[in-house]
């Protein structure tokens, strides 16, 4: 069994390794690895290709933990890692009051996607959040039930709906294939992430005009108290120069 790189207790000394969470697979992993390599500090996995720990070339006392994007957000929240590359959507969803704990050091320019409110295309009378609120009220008065919003983004949904002054709905936690919820009859409305909108269209859903909750992309983010660490600065400038050279 491999020992996870992330900490299980609070750091004690000055020379504790700085732990960086990087995506363990997929396009996010490839892009992140390519950026570090281009910046002159390649990421190395310890042990086999499958290993969950790594190092960064030319940087002493920095450890890499390979995690899923959502684990990176979660471990940033509880301090098991000090920095990481993940989606902005996951940071905002996972970390309560995220601005007070986390700083987004660099927006990486890939992994673009929007978190949006989408309703069935068949709702010809619904184009805005205002329409949605009225439909929600009518639904409640007519059927005695709240309109259901399927999503994995409970926090983002609640904040956005509250800012729009909408109260008469309920969320339904969805762990996968959210776009199928209206067809399956488990919800009427969805809040989901979309990059091209084609999945929504294929499921006969449309995005509300003022229903874009967040324009997200991949980011390099760190816990606030670690932002001043010299190693963090090197990591950030590595990524920055790699991004500059890309252009």
């Amino acid at each position: 069994m491999t020992v996870p790189a992330y900490r299980t207790s609070a750091p004690l000394g000055e020379d504790v390794p700085l732990v960086v969470g990087l995506p363990s697979k997929g396009r996010l992993m490839e892009k992140a690895a390519a950026l570090f390599a281009a910046g002159g500090h390649a990421v190395r996995r310890i042990g086999s290709d499958r290993g969950y720990r790594g190092t960064i070339e030319g940087l002493e006392n920095v450890e890499v933990a390979f995690l899923s994007a959502s684990e990176i957000a979660r471990h940033l929240r509880n301090g098991k890692i000090d920095a990481g590359i993940t989606g902005e959507d996951l940071l905002q969803e996972t970390i309560p009051d995220w601005q007070s704990r986390i700083e987004i050091l660099i927006s990486l320019g890939f992994g673009h996607a929007n978190v949006v409110v989408a309703v069935p295309e068949s709702w010809l009378d619904c184009a805005t959040m205002d329409d949605l609120e009225e439909i929600a009220e009518e639904h409640f008065q007519r059927h005695g039930r709240r309109l259901r919003v399927a999503t994995k983004y409970l926090r983002l949904t609640r904040q956005f709906f509250a800012n729009k002054g909408i109260a008469g709905y309920r969320t339904v936690l969805s762990s996968g294939a959210t776009e199928g919820a209206p067809a399956a009859g488990t919800a009427e409305v969805i809040v989901d992430i979309t990059s091209t909108g084609s999945t929504l269209r294929a499921n006969h859903l449309k995005v509300l005009e003022d229903g874009i909750i967040l324009r997200s992309q991949a980011v390099f983010a760190a816990r606030l108290e670690k932002c001043g660490d010299p190693r963090m600065q090197i990591l950030a400038s590595t990524l920055k120069s790699a991004l500059r050279n890309e252009q």
Binding site: P96, V119, P120, E121, S122, W123, L124, D125, A127, T128, D130, D131, E133, E134, I135, E137, E138, H139, F140, Q141, R142, H143, G144, R145, R146, L147, L154, R158, F161, A162, K164, G165, I166, A167, G168, Y169, R170, T171, P182, A183, G185, A187, E188, V189, N203, H204, E209, D210
Partner: protein, 409 residues
């Protein structure tokens, strides 16, 4: 009991924050509360702590859901919750057990309720004991007396527990309802405004749209509304045909809980709204003036009478009721700080008339220790008959903190 809300060494959330002596003091305080309620004719009941989740989620909207502990039974079949308040469980118990659910019933209850705060601050526990009464089925014409008696009992309970300094905040949703009833507008506009009563920004936006001062900022529906406008507003069938034709062309089959008729009707209403005369300047001003009414009960009555002087309709009647309510509580108003705001509605969405909340100073901050009001729609919304109802709940842990907070009690 100085350590009740010390700033250091917060216990983890949810855990009992009380020492043994504190727990005993809480127990003694709550036994006295229950004794008081019983002596006033409220019979103790103990509804289940686990409740079907739907009942709460459908009734209270997302703000409560965000604080409700939800889980499924071990078979994974039924969604359950830990009760976030006592009112709904008592009403459900009443509907299950009363031989005649419209007959008068007075209940008292003290027991744990659960609201997720995730704060390491004992003033915001995830689990606390609520004490309260619910008075169901009093005669409709006795409502004002019942409202006043319930508020009085709540204050007596707080005082007996040792609370000497508190702020009473009052509101009455009935005032806005009555004012809107007197102003000519489609019934759906009234509903639209009342649904937003608790949410200032949303209320004002809806009002401005009705006044023609904030036109729909989007043209996304212009095309279909243009077509609908040519139909007779009452010809729902023609509108349904139009909707059906469009949906066929789009191959959009998922209606997600709505019918063609729902969509067609709302399109007709939207088209009609755009052509109805906007709310007049004067009526908008009256609605806004009502929302701004704020002050002591005396000040408020004067302001309301000023506002309603020409009308002899629902609003005048609502003012008379409020004056009657106030007159029954003069001694209480004289004894402490009391503010009435016409725009005050409590966050729980089921209140229909008088609402109140009582705040006390705990750890240097004024926090709600009790709240209540009238909720005449509750039993009907649970599938029972329409029965007048009012009640209150006390946050007993906070009450104990407030009465042991130095300077008080």
């Amino acid at each position: 009991m100085k350590s009740l809300h010390g700033t250091s060494a917060f216990p983890p959330p949810s855990a009992s924050v009380f020492t043994r002596q504190e727990a005993e003091a809480l127990q003694a305080q709550n036994e006295r509360l229950l004794h008081l309620f019983r002596s006033r004719g409220f019979a103790p009941v103990n509804p289940p702590i686990m409740q079907p989740a739907d009942v709460f989620l459908e009734r209270s909207g997302e703000q409560i859901r965000a604080r409700t502990f939800l889980f499924t039974d071990p078979d994974g079949l039924e969604e359950l919750c830990l009760r976030p308040d006592l009112t709904v469980p008592i009403c459900r118990l009443h509907l299950q057990q009363a031989t005649d659910p419209t007959a008068e019933a007075r209940y008292a209850c003290i027991g744990p309720v659960f609201r997720y705060h995730a704060r390491r601050d004992p003033r915001f526990p995830d689990e606390y004991r609520q004490a309260g009464v619910e008075w169901l089925g009093h005669a409709a014409e006795e409502r004002i007396r019942a409202d006043a008696e319930v508020l009085r009992l709540c204050i007596i309970a707080l005082r007996r527990a040792g609370l000497s300094r508190f702020r009473l905040r009052l509101g009455d949703i009935g005032l806005m309802r009555a004012l809107l009833d007197d102003i000519p507008m489609p019934q759906r506009w009234r509903k639209r405004l009342l649904m937003r009563f608790n949410r200032q920004k949303a209320f004002r936006h809806a009002l401005m749209v009705m006044a023609g001062r904030a036109p729909d900022e989007t043209n996304a529906l212009a095309d279909i509304l243009e077509e609908i406008t040519h139909l007779d507003p009452l010809d729902i069938e023609a509108a349904e045909r139009l909707v059906m034709t469009r949906l066929k062309k789009m191959k959009a089959e998922i209606l997600a809980g709505r019918s063609i008729g729902d969509i067609a009707r709302r399109l007709l209403e939207k088209a009609e709204d755009a052509h109805l005369p906007p709310l007049s300047q004067e009526h908008v001003a009256r609605i806004e003036a009502l929302l701004a009414v704020e002050g002591t009960p005396q000040e408020v009555l004067a302001a309301l009478r000023n506002l309603g002087k020409e009308s002899d309709g629902h609003f005048a009647e609502a003012i008379r009721r409020l004056a009657d309510f106030f007159s029954r509580l003069e001694d209480i108003f004289a004894a402490g700080e009391c503010r009435f705001s016409a725009g005050f509605g409590r966050a729980l969405e089921y209140y229909t008339g008088v609402v109140f909340s009582i705040e006390a100073e705990i750890g240097g901050e004024w926090l709600t220790v009790a709240g209540g009001g009238r909720y005449d729609d509750m039993l009907a919304s649970l599938g029972g008959p329409r029965v007048p109802a009012c009640g209150f709940g006390i946050h007993t842990e906070r009450l104990l903190m407030a009465t042991h907070d130095g300077g008080n009690g």
